[in-house]
């Protein structure tokens, strides 16, 4: 069991810390957490590249790969693969260049706005893809889920049309915001230029 993440003054230290009721439970809890995390991730068949984006210790990789191998060997029939497609979960991460978290690294309100407008342009569309339906682990729960899945298939022709219309409105609004911003920047530039010209004229008069 290796959780030695970094070195401090020549000594290896736990970077992660967990205190329960005032006691340092880091070792025991991390072990329990690792086991449940690996089991959960195996259930959804994520590869390690996806999981590593969750910033979990790199030392867990070999154990995870082993667990995934044995899980895959156990169940690989076509029906379960079909239903697994609907169970698919995603690990959210967008590329750094379009990730909303980058807004926190802005250096001013102005920079924030520039980045925000850039990000909003690529987020104006809604999709009509199937989304995860929470299911309770009962017969009724599972039945309700399949009814909802059927309704989604059945109503797609309406939903797609509404989504298309909504996307048209969204993109028009996106353009309007962008054009207004560009116009304001242009007016500001013009004003700055006029002020500097006036200042030049004034300083020439003074001389």
């Amino acid at each position: 069991m290796v959780y030695l993440i970094y070195q401090e003054n020549g000594r290896f230290c736990f970077k992660m810390k967990i205190f329960i009721a005032g006691k340092d439970n880091t070792v025991n809890m991390l072990d329990a957490i690792k086991r449940s995390f690996i089991t959960r991730m195996c259930k959804y068949r994520f590869n390690w590249e996806d999981i590593s984006k969750l910033n979990v210790p790199a030392e867990w990789k070999s154990e995870y790969v082993e667990a995934l191998k044995s899980k895959n060997a156990l169940s690989s029939n076509r029906i379960s693969n079909f239903f697994r497609e609907f169970d698919k979960k995603k690990i959210d991460f967008l590329p750094q260049s379009i990730d909303s978290s980058q807004l926190i690294n802005s250096n001013s309100e102005k920079e924030f706005l520039e980045t925000y407008l850039k990000l909003i342009r690529i987020r104006e569309h809604i999709d009509s893809l199937f989304f995860d339906i929470p299911t309770s682990n009962t017969f009724i729960g599972r039945l309700a889920r399949y009814v909802k899945m059927f309704a989604w298939f059945f109503l797609r022709f309406i939903v797609d049309r509404i989504a298309f219309r909504q996307n048209l409105i969204n993109s028009n609004l996106g353009y309007a915001i962008e054009f207004e911003h560009q116009l304001l920047l242009k007016e500001l530039e013009d004003l700055k230029m006029r002020i500097s010209e006036l200042e030049k004229k004034l300083s020439n008069k003074d001389l």
């Binding site: 970077k15 992660m16 810390k17 967990i18 205190f19 329960i20 009721a21 005032g22 809890m29 991390l30 329990a32 957490i33 449940s36 995390f37 959960r40 959804y44 969750l54 910033n55 979990v56 979960k89 995603k90 959210d92 967008l94 990730d99 909303s100 978290s101 807004l103 926190i104 690294n105 802005s106 250096n107 001013s108 309100e109 920079e111 924030f112 925000y116 990000l119 909003i120 987020r123 989304f131 995860d132 929470p134 299911t135 309770s136």
Partner: protein, 354 residues
């Protein structure tokens, strides 16, 4: 002799305003004249009758003037000019860097507040801090003889009847509820809380929701970023409830299953104690004054990625022994807090002037 208090702002549900009210009542109880002075532009309408306009403040050299300090404001100049004996209560200044991307004005105010801290503290006759963490900041800045007066937990507020409309709204669907109470500000690190919830909701328990109670008008750009993040993570059960009345706040504590805090900078953090009072398991990041507020109770973590914090929450709830241990540690902590004699602590600190 009068003992007056000067504040930068005054609002219902604000911990500092609440402390000022408790202190005013104690002073009046001792037979002293006491009022709270605030610039009316920064007073919320619901509590307008509790304070007087800052421009009406007058004092003599035999009076005492207490300034609650956490941000630069016109109140600090009134404090500086006051002929009374001066007491500065330092409630912590949030590092301005947190606000740099989101609000130039707040960034400037906090930078100025930090600059003015040493000046204010050096002219004060006494300097108090509401936690060891806050006191250590003052000591680092070269201020000596800092006394501690921790924020009081008011049971009067916590024993109000909960708002029925909120109880009804949330009891319609029985979902596992994460609660966070605090204004929506960048130092509260709410993006991490949302990521923890996203993992919990997507991979552990889809029948769950995150309820965030606190004003979201203070830093609108930060709020916009959070909304964008929620869209990116594709989660639906995140409820921004905004500011809550005292009765509303009780209702939120009653409907919650766990209190989770990911705040990166906190002077003390009273909501942690309030959550303990309502017997909610508290899971919090160990930063700043949070350690003192927790006092060895509940669950604290540091440097855990959001996915593993969500797993930690799952473990605390799936292991009855662990959960009981957490709850009993919190009961001890809250008992200790309720036994505090705030009036006596205040009297001891003010002895030389009474």
């Amino acid at each position: 002799m009068r003992v007056d208090q000067i504040l930068a702002g005054f609002a219902e549900g604000d911990a500092i305003s609440h402390e000022a009210l408790i202190m005013r009542d104690i002073f009046r109880g001792w037979g002293l004249a006491s009022d709270i002075f605030v610039d009316p532009a920064f007073v919320s309408p619901a509590v307008r009758q509790e304070c007087l306009p800052l421009k009406n403040y007058k004092a003599e050299s035999s009076d005492v003037c207490i300034h609650h300090y956490g941000i630069a404001s016109s109140a600090q100049f009134v404090f500086l000019d006051s002929p009374a004996k001066k007491i500065l209560i330092y409630h912590n200044i949030t590092p301005a860097e947190f606000f740099k991307p989101f609000d130039d004005k707040i960034f400037f105010q906090l930078t100025e507040a930090r600059k003015g801290l040493v000046r204010l503290a050096s002219i004060a006759d006494a300097v108090w801090a509401d936690s060891m963490f806050n006191a250590s900041e003052l000591i680092e800045a070269g201020i000596r003889d800092v006394k501690i007066l921790k924020l009081p937990l008011s049971t009067k507020q916590l024993n109000l009847t909960p708002d029925v409309s909120i109880l009804n709204k949330f009891s319609r669907h029985k979902l596992f509820t994460f609660l966070f109470v605090g204004r929506i500000a960048p130092n509260k690190n709410i993006e991490e809380l949302i990521k923890i919830f996203a993992y919990y909701h997507n991979f552990i328990n889809p029948f769950s929701r995150l309820v965030i109670v606190g004003s979201f008008h203070g830093v609108p750009r930060y709020m916009a970023m959070l909304r964008m993040l929620i869209g990116d993570l594709d989660i639906s059960n995140v409820c921004f409830e905004g500011f809550a009345s005292p009765e509303g706040l009780i209702a939120y504590y009653k409907i919650a299953d766990v209190y989770v805090s990911t705040t990166n900078h906190e002077g003390y953090c009273l909501p942690l104690l309030e959550a303990m009072y309502f017997d909610l398991p508290v899971i919090t990041k160990a930063k700043g004054g949070v350690n003192e507020a927790m006092g060895g109770a509940g669950v604290m973590y540091d440097d855990l990625p959001p996915s593993l914090v969500a797993e930690l929450i799952y473990h605390v709830f799936s292991n009855t022994y662990l959960k009981n241990e957490v709850l009993s540690s919190q009961k001890i902590r809250i008992k200790e807090e309720l036994q505090r004699d705030f009036a006596n602590e205040l009297r001891r600190l003010m002895m030389q002037w009474l």
